[in-house]
């Protein structure tokens, strides 16, 4: 094992060295460094925010570094664990599911922002996700309010209009999928069968999670979880989707027009709009409902927030920048909503013109008003600190379920694995 450990240490060391060279140059330039993961989405919104801030602050420069989301998370974790702060950015984007893991594992590494920024201006659930011991640590960014994004032309060919997609169940979705394939030859969904994100969507739509409010594992005996997993097993066993593996494969399937849609968070808008030739051919419907008392058509997938590192070399400037643009500029939120589909959580911004207008790209549907009203219906859940572990356990059982595995047995396995991993 010494070799492996050395390997990891070398890796961390090399990352630190490389990054500290970066940090040195940035320190000289007085540059604010930001880590995020999607150049079409959060990277683009950050650049837009920086351009606006620079208009009043001519000295302000920003360095937006975007790399794969998993790499951002793992690099941040490795670097915080190493104990050296050289090379960490000033601002980092963290997905809401993981916020508490970082805050609790690395106390003192993140700057409390409650004093500098008026958190009451944001959606309360976002602030709560990033609060620990009464301190809030983030400037909330986007919501992951979910929708069923579909090709209006394919569904029209199969005889379905917008009205037919309201208030449906997952089993009805399977019927629609069969009809779409029979009439148009296109599969209905692009599905990464190893991704358990859809289970998270279904669970939250019914107001439940892998864990209870006080952090206990809530899997075996959780009727809503069983209903969700059962509904998804029926989808996996149907022939209505194209199985994909990995992000590029998954997005490529609907971006190329091969499949008719996907069920995911509002942030996928940036990827969908990256193909302007499909303008007017997309629509958004509410997600199907699981067959469970109290389940809704509204849920959340992902969503993230900006955090300032306590060790940031340009800390004061970074906080002021976040405060002036991200925590106040209503006009900015209108622009990133239209351009990137970034569904901000600054409450005031919801009254702006972009949130009220209908979107020509989405066949003239009032999608942003719809998302706003769905957002209000999302049942609140406490994600806890072990979502990654639970996700891995669920993902391990999905291929088994697809091949007709027993639902109760799979739940038992997931439950045992999560309990073991989180003890």
């Amino acid at each position: 094992m010494p070799n492996k450990l050395n390997g990891l240490r070398t890796l961390v060391g090399a990352a630190t060295l490389g990054a500290s060279v970066l940090a040195m140059t940035s320190a000289l330039a007085g540059e604010v460094t930001v880590w995020c993961w999607d150049p079409n989405f959060n990277g683009a919104t950050m650049l837009e925010a920086a351009a606006r801030y620079a208009a009043d602050h001519p000295d302000f420069t920003i360095n937006v570094v975007d790399f794969a989301k998993a790499d951002v998370e793992q690099k941040l974790q490795a670097q915080l664990a190493s104990g050296t702060t050289d090379g960490l950015p000033d601002i980092v984007l963290i997905e809401d599911y993981r916020a508490q893991k970082y805050l609790q594992s690395f106390p003192g590494s993140f700057e409390p922002l409650g004093g500098a920024i008026d958190t009451s201006k944001f959606a309360p659930y976002k602030v709560e996700l990033a609060s620990l011991n009464g301190q809030s640590y983030s400037v909330p960014f986007d919501s992951g309010v979910t929708g069923f994004f579909y090709r209006t032309d394919y569904l029209a060919d199969a005889g379905y209009s917008e009205a037919d997609l309201q208030d449906i169940t997952w089993d009805q979705l399977i019927e629609i999928g069969k009809a779409v394939e029979a009439k148009t030859g296109h599969k209905l969904l692009s599905v990464d069968i190893n991704d358990s994100g859809i289970i998270r969507i279904m669970m939250q739509s019914a107001g439940t999670w892998y864990f209870t409010e006080d952090g206990q594992v809530n899997i075996e005996g959780n009727a809503a979880f069983k209903t969700a997993l059962g509904a998804w097993q029926r989808v996996l066993q149907s022939d209505i989707y194209k199985p994909t593996s990995g992000w590029t494969d998954y997005t490529g399937a609907f971006a190329s027009g091969e499949v008719a849609g996907t069920i995911t968070g509002v942030w996928i808008t940036a990827t969908i709009k990256a193909n302007p030739e499909l303008a007017g051919k997309w629509g958004v419907a509410p997600i199907p409902k699981i067959d469970f008392e109290g389940a809704t058509h509204a849920s959340n997938l992902g969503g993230s927030s900006w955090y300032v590192l306590a060790s940031a070399p340009q800390k004061a400037e970074a906080i002021d920048f976040l405060k002036e643009i991200w925590a106040s500029d209503v006009d900015f939120y209108q622009k990133i909503l239209i351009d990137q589909g970034a569904f901000g959580t600054l409450t005031e911004a919801r009254n702006g013109p972009a949130f009220q207008a209908s979107d020509a790209f989405f066949s003239g549907q009032p999608v942003w008003q719809n998302f706003t009203s769905w957002l209000a219906e999302i049942p609140g859940v406490n994600y806890g600190i072990f979502t990654e572990e639970a996700d891995t356990a669920v993902a391990a059982q999905l291929p088994v379920l697809k091949d007709g595995g027993d639902l109760d047995e799979a739940i038992k396995q997931i439950d045992a694995q999560v309990k073991q991993q989180t003890m």
């Binding site: 094992m1 492996k4 050395n6 390997g7 793992q74 190893n194 991704d195 891995t392 291929p399 991993q421």
Partner: protein, 305 residues
């Protein structure tokens, strides 16, 4: 006389001491570096393997981590995957390497150095670079599926990276491609040291080709075969880059390609960090490498007698 002799001894010890001191001085830089970057981390990781807790909040937990190992289904999955890779891949690779080496050792073979370079070349490529290439080759609509579909060998695409069984096959193919040439070079070098006259006399005595290979080449390569099987075993137990980079979800699908090293990485950098437990799992690899290497030495030693 006695006095003189004593002085001589003293002088000699004085000289010896200076020499010894000089010697230590010369190796001191290497020793210090070894101590700081090798011995200290090893001891520290041993200490860490008894720590429990999340993130930076560590505390001494005694044997709690070892108890956790015995109850951890993911660890058992990672362990069995690692052994499947070991048991299936290492023999295939070594046999292939031996066959290639024998073929390329034939001085009458046309384009010998070209083939030798071609087979060795994969092992100078970066692990991550070739992993990414393999991923794109084996995507659902990647080159391999297109090729097989084009030849009408299969009627629908094989879910290479989405199916637990096929994903293991892809990993095995990838590491075999990457490392066969490396092992072949060892065999080739060893074969060039075998005296040609042995083969000549065997030929004169009418020993057939297969028997010359089996009863002459293989026994004489035994030390090299032992060496390659030990380093391949260690390499496979530490398998990380390929399983982290080839499947679109590292270790997936369904943990089918999760290895011990990747699990250590997940425990430290993906999950709620438990560095102590990760160190415990890493010591499992140390112990396994020790045991397996010992057995391999034993097997060869017995046969030599």
């Amino acid at each position: 006389m006695l006095c003189g002799g004593e002085r001589f001894d003293l002088a000699r010890t004085g000289l010896a001491r200076t020499e010894r001191l000089n010697g230590w001085m010369f190796i001191m830089p290497a020793l210090v570096l070894l101590g700081v970057f090798m011995i200290y981390p090893i001891l520290w990781s041993l200490w860490m393997s008894f720590q429990v807790g999340r993130g930076m909040n560590l505390s001494f937990g005694g044997f709690a981590n070892i108890l956790r190992l015995t109850q951890d289904p993911v660890f058992q999955r990672a362990l069995s995957n690692t052994f499947i890779f070991l048991i299936v891949q290492v023999p295939i690779m070594l046999v292939l390497a031996l066959i290639f080496a024998t073929m390329l050792n034939d001085s009458k073979l046309w384009g010998r150095s070209l083939f030798r370079t071609a087979i060795f070349l994969p092992c100078v490529t970066s692990l991550v670079a070739y992993s990414v290439l393999f991923r794109s080759l084996f995507l659902a609509d990647g080159f391999v599926n297109d090729f097989l579909l084009g030849l009408h060998l299969i009627s629908e695409p094989i879910p290479w990276l989405a199916d637990p069984f096929w994903a293991k096959i892809v990993i095995i193919m990838a590491i075999t491609w990457r490392w066969t040439g490396y092992n072949m070079i060892f065999y080739l070098a060893a074969m060039q040291n075998i005296d040609r006259s042995i083969y000549e006399s065997a030929k004169i005595d009418g020993v057939p080709t297969w028997a010359r290979f089996w009863y002459l080449t293989v026994p004489m390569l035994k030390p090299v075969i032992l060496f390659t099987s030990v380093i391949s075993t260690i390499g496979t137990l530490q398998l990380f880059d390929e399983v982290n980079n080839i499947p679109p979800n590292a270790g997936g699908p369904s943990d089918a390609t999760l290895t011990l090293s990747l699990y250590i990485y997940n425990l430290s950098f993906r999950f709620m960090p438990s560095f102590g437990y990760a160190a415990t799992v890493s010591y499992v690899i140390v112990i396994l490498v020790g045991i397996l290497s010992y057995f391999q030495f034993m097997v060869v030693r017995d046969k030599r007698r």
